[in-house]
């Protein structure tokens, strides 16, 4: 077994800090929990972290300022805890380069799934180019995917709705365009979102994505099925 990942949790509520640390450690993630941005800077200087979980609502220095500072220091993935449904916070956070956000009150298992997904993506980046900053719009075959707003625009600039799972799936495909994504990877993305059997969920989500991208299912040109269980996005992706 390899080394458990080490992450930093910044949250001003002591109970949440302690409980979250305990919960994540139960799931083999090493946690250093701090209460504000000052302690976070100190902890950052003294340790090595694979990921930072940052509450945006902090006493004293706002979480967004710390995120900005952190970005100047490192490419470490950031998962933000935002106030429920505060769109502006979320969008600013993602534009600043957060890798994901979880609204508060969060479901601990969902947070765990997001942390793992982000860690996997970050770990993967050693093998290939990781999209920088995580929030700039991505353009492929005329379509635009905006991570900051979690939305897809068609070539006419009209927003095409996506479910949460479809978005995660499409983002994964776009970030790794022209590389095969195994079903296992895609399954992880949908885990926690679907109530039904996961295997079918992948196929359903892919077929819906093809419909939305106007990619003919029987003769798919954009999202191609790879024999042996996997999918690949066949398109050139550029930062818009």
């Amino acid at each position: 077994m390899d080394q458990p990942p080490h992450i930093m949790v910044v949250d001003d509520d002591r109970e949440i800090r302690d409980l979250l640390a305990k919960f994540l450690e139960k799931h083999r993630i090493r946690v250093t929990a701090v209460r504000d941005c000052r302690d976070a800077r100190r902890a950052w200087a003294n340790g090595h972290y694979q990921l930072v979980v940052l509450d945006l609502m902090l006493p004293g220095e706002p979480g967004l300022d710390f995120a900005r500072w952190l970005r100047t220091q490192s490419d470490v993935p950031i998962v933000m805890l935002t106030a429920m449904g505060e769109e502006t916070d979320r969008i600013i956070g993602l534009e600043l380069g957060a890798d994901d956000y979880v609204p508060k009150p969060f479901n601990p298992r969902e947070l765990l799934a997001r942390i793992r997904a982000v860690l996997r993506r970050a770990g993967d980046s050693t093998a290939g180019p990781r999209h920088d900053g995580g929030s700039r719009p991505l353009r492929f075959a005329g379509w635009v995917l905006e991570p900051a707003r979690r939305r897809l625009l068609n070539p006419d600039g009209v927003e095409v709705a996506l479910t949460g799972g479809e978005y995660d799936l499409l983002l994964a495909l776009v970030e790794r365009a022209n590389r095969v994504l195994t079903r296992d990877m895609l399954l992880d993305l949908l885990r926690g979102r679907q109530a039904g059997p996961f295997d079918r969920a992948i196929d359903v989500a892919i077929s819906r994505l093809r419909r939305k991208l106007e990619d003919d299912g029987r003769n798919a040109q954009l999202i191609k099925t790879v024999r042996g269980g996997g999918y690949v996005l066949a398109a050139t992706v550029e930062h818009a």
């Binding site: 509520d13 106030a83 429920m84 969060f106 479901n107 095409v160 709705a161 109530a195 939305k212």
Partner: protein, 450 residues
Amino acid sequence: MTFRFWPRSLAARTAFVLLIGLIVVQGAGLAIHAMDRIDVQRLAQARNLAVRVIGLYRTVVLTTPEQREEVVAELHRGPDLTAELSSQPPVTDLPEMPVPMQRLFRVSMNFVGVPGPQRWREMQILGGPEWRRVVVGLHLPDGEWLNVTAALEPVRPWHSPTFLAAFLLMTVAAAGLTLWAVRRLTAPVRTLAAAAEALGRDVNAPPLPEDGPLEVATAAAAFNTMAARIRRFVQDRTELLTAIGHDLRTPITRLKLRAEFIEDDEQRGKVLADLEELETMVSATLAFGRDARTGEPVSALDMAELLRTLLDETGDARPEAASRLEYEGPPHWTVRARPLALKRALTNLIANAVMYGGGARVRLVPPASVGAAGAMLTIEIEDDGPGIPPGELERVFEPFHRGEPSRNRETGGVGLGLPIARNILRAHGGDVVLANRPTGGAKATVTLPA
């Protein structure tokens, strides 16, 4: 019984009354003018006749009785006047002239005057009420009668074309001014009604301009004050709700984390389900508070795809309902809206249908005429549930209103889903109403500017 032609609008009523008044006044004016002209013309004719009759009389009186016949025959001039001497007053088929008309002649004859000694003893004026022919009989001092028959020109009160043109112009101008003034004066009432309507839909509607006539400005100021008080009241309540919602997030998060440490799987599941419900209530409350002042920008989105995606999401979350979720309509339809807000509104409506009806049929009906001003897009969301009691159809849109308590306890919900949906749709210039379908089940009809 109401008067059939009584118009409904204030402007039309005021204009109606004023125009009726104008017509009466102008009609009376015209009648007075006509009668006056008739009098003037008759008087002129009477004067004219009097001069001729008196002249004749004086000539006859000054002539000896032997020469009279000759003189009368000689002086019998013109086709419009004949005179004859007789031993008796005039005998004709004409009745006596009405007294007011006779007076015209008598006065005129007095005015012309007859020297003292020749003053006649008696005079008869025949002619009937028609102004066509008059017979004047003058009793000569020696007992004979001088009977003069004269034709009278018909009176023509409408003779002057310039007068009629001027009169018509004046009437049209007065009517036009009346309509214009009424429209201007009642405009503030329409503005006020529109403002009240806008306030009912959106408390943050812009205030009324406080200008114009004093009464209008006062009413506008009073209205704005009222709107400000309502806004303040709504804001206070909303802020209270939002504050409570925000404060609840930390304890809910803690509880969710603690629940993860419950060893008993069944109990943990139940605690998490309870917390999920609590969170739903809090987020609904926060959503309700937020929608009152949404700051999301408007952008283009594919409504057809949004509806299908929402149905997919609902089906993913509730696989047992998945087979009863249907979409019907065009494959793509672009609208301009606030995507997140609209998504929330439609999610609430679909969730409602699924909650009470176990499924949802969503139909997107594009407007009949694309691009026309005021064209509305319709979205119908039908379910096969028990429907809604008729008395509740509007009340379910009141915040925190929950139909039958037992039903809601079982199905959850805070009583904010429909009010939130309506707030959002109204803020988009649309609306949502509920109705029962004749074949059973309920139908939510959403309208949106296309």
